[in-house]
């Protein structure tokens, strides 16, 4: 009986989308021009990534030694590299790789970081050990830790994802832990505990939803950082294997031909900037929208 009532209520909420918080949030985001430019850039990048096989005019790995280092032409829109590979096709497939790496790093680091943060913030004994380990990992500059991990793991797309995820897990964990420490002292968590609700249930239903919004913002920023991280690792030659079409790889090869073939630097460079700028703009917009602390501050400022 009770369940039916629950469901009916749920149904009403779904049927009235104009009142749902998600819809309100999306509408508020739509009003922010800068965030919209960011969203537009991100969406464009995702589309290119998905449609890469269709957009690429050639196999990004196909060699054509006779046409090596050709300047941009009608056949090769972005020119060719030192092995005669079509740079346009490589840049487009590079978008695919960037989105794959960025998305996977966000997925792994956010889910693992959430678990560590929830456990650390809720169980004080575990906290000490967990956070010391996180502090230890954060004592390395991110790129250095990633390089060191790549040294042991060896070059591959999967290992780049793993190395970058390990770099960003502590950042998510610290953030989540901070919000859990606040939420666990609230009256409703105390009430839930007094009612005898088991800990996992309290964590999932009452604590987690109240810690999510800063993580969403952090997620977009980690996405941007992971795109940059992959590019940097591959540029240095310790990221994905050389044959993989990656923006960092094209830049790394292009460095040797900077004078003869500047398009090898300019084309993937522009792609990186567009992708990262979009993610940063979108993340900034989300932060203004979702961070209640910041929103309170702004409201306070207006009052003054």
């Amino acid at each position: 009986m009770n369940q039916t009532a629950d469901r009916a209520e749920h149904h009403v909420i779904v049927a009235a989308p104009s009142r749902s918080p998600l819809w309100l949030a999306l509408r508020a985001l739509g009003r922010r021009k800068i965030a919209m430019i960011g969203a537009f850039l991100v969406a464009g990048n995702l589309l290119i990534a998905i449609a890469a096989p269709a957009l690429a005019r050639r196999n990004p790995q196909a060699l054509d030694i006779q046409a090596r280092l050709s300047a941009p032409t009608r056949i090769h829109w972005f020119g060719t590299d030192d092995l005669g590979r079509d740079v346009w096709s490589r840049v487009v497939h590079g978008a695919r790789l960037s989105m794959l790496v960025g998305g996977s790093v966000v997925l792994v680091s956010v889910s693992v970081g959430l678990v560590f943060g929830l456990l650390g913030g809720y169980y004080r004994k575990l906290d000490n050990v967990l956070m010391r380990v996180m502090d230890g990992l954060m004592a390395f500059p991110g790129i250095i830790l990633a390089i060191a991990l790549m040294a042991s793991l060896g070059p591959s797309v999967r290992n780049v994802i793993a190395a970058l995820a390990i770099v960003y897990i502590p950042r998510v964990a610290r953030l989540v832990r901070g919000s859990v420490l606040v939420v666990r002292e609230t009256a409703y968590v105390e009430a839930a505990r007094a009612l005898g609700i088991p800990d996992p249930m309290i964590l999932l239903r009452h604590v987690l939803p109240n810690c999510v919004s800063p993580v969403i913002v952090q997620g977009t920023l980690i996405f941007a950082a992971a795109v940059l991280g992959e590019a940097a690792l591959s540029f240095l030659g310790v990221g994905v294997p050389p044959y993989v079409a990656s923006w960092g790889n094209i830049l790394g090869e292009g460095r040797l031909y900077l004078q003869q073939a500047p398009w090898l630097t300019l084309c993937p460079g522009g792609a990186i900037m567009g992708a990262v700028l979009g993610l940063n703009l979108f993340g900034d917009g989300l932060r203004d929208l979702l961070d209640p602390k910041l929103r309170g501050l702004q409201a306070g400022r207006r009052e003054r």
Partner: protein, 314 residues
């Protein structure tokens, strides 16, 4: 206060323990037997066995770990497999360009970031403010190695004003040294100045709304005096924390920038060590950079204490 300082200094110890352990684990993360990986596919079984013994890999993990801590305490980072000399010596030989590069880049970041932030806050919402912030946003979105490549293209290749790449050591003269480090430091520092400008601007905007600023203006102080004497002093404190982070990021960035400009520093050392699987060198450089990072953060915290009396009395 002395207690606080002591506690802050002691808090570094567990972090250092974790850092040392992470560096130790690195060598064991590699799939398969580290000794045969390091020796390469063409090594004979005897060579692999010899190497395993030399690296102490024939012992149990616990014994290896304890020995590792012991060696670190006595300052022994082991020997490089390829360079045939102690890792510490290799690091010392390569440290000069990296440290100079990091220092100059920090200088660039601070000298551009703080004034840009102050101007932006003082003329809030003006054209200058908005264009500076758009620039800062662009700056955050461009990776330092890409900016380096673009600068080489513009100033080295097209205009021919500066050397395209290479490093002139300090011994060969301050002027040539500065000239060779100019583009690397700017490309590294400029990106970071964007972050500093954003932080300075927001903390300056907060401070400019404080009561004592209103008082200052009400009693007829010159606006310039209010901004630079009263507001800036307080607004710079949060910026200082960011400078600490900045130095760490720049140290990491220097490693990447060195590849762009062919500078023989710690970055080239660690990258070539990674490619040759020279694990002791990788471990040594990683440990050293983490140690410098922790030291900088400690110093920033202590400086914070000296600058902001509110923290002292908590």
């Amino acid at each position: 206060m002395k207690l606080y300082i002591l506690r802050r200094v002691l808090a570094v110890l567990p972090v250092m323990l974790v850092v040392a352990t992470v560096a130790f684990i690195l060598i064991h993360l590699a799939p398969g037997d580290p000794a045969s990986v390091i020796a390469g596919p063409y090594a004979s079984p005897e060579d692999v066995a010899k190497l395993r013994q030399r690296l102490g890999l024939d012992q149990s993990l616990v014994i290896q770990l304890v020995r590792w801590y012991g060696r670190l305490v006595s300052g022994d980072l082991g020997d490089s497999i390829f360079l045939r000399r102690p890792v510490l010596q290799a690091i010392v030989e390569r440290a000069e360009p990296t440290l100079l590069l990091t220092a100059f880049a920090t200088l660039v970041a601070v000298l551009i970031g703080i004034p840009a932030g102050v101007v932006s806050a003082r003329y809030h919402n003006s054209v200058a403010d908005q264009s500076l912030m758009v620039l800062a946003l662009l700056g955050i979105s461009i990776p330092n190695f890409l900016l380096g490549l673009l600068m080489i293209l513009a100033f080295g290749v097209w205009l021919g004003w500066l050397p395209v790449a290479g490093y002139v050591p300090l011994e060969a003269g301050l002027w040539s040294n500065l000239r060779s480090l100019l583009m690397p430091s700017v490309s590294l520092g400029l990106v970071q100045s964007a972050l500093i400008a954003r932080i300075t601007r927001s903390s300056m905007l907060d401070v400019l709304r404080e009561q004592y600023i209103i008082t200052g203006r009400a009693k007829g102080l010159h606006e310039r005096w209010v901004v630079y004497k009263h507001a800036l002093k307080n607004a710079v404190i949060p910026t200082l924390t960011v400078v600490g982070i900045t130095i760490a990021i720049l140290l990491g960035g220097a490693v990447v920038i060195e590849t762009v400009f062919n500078i023989p520093g710690l970055g080239r050392l660690i990258i070539s060590a990674v490619l040759r699987r020279d694990y002791p060198v990788v471990q040594g450089v990683v440990l050293l950079i983490a140690a410098v990072y922790m030291l900088v953060n400690l110093l920033v915290d202590l400086a914070y204490l000296a600058l902001d009396p509110r923290i002292r009395y908590q």
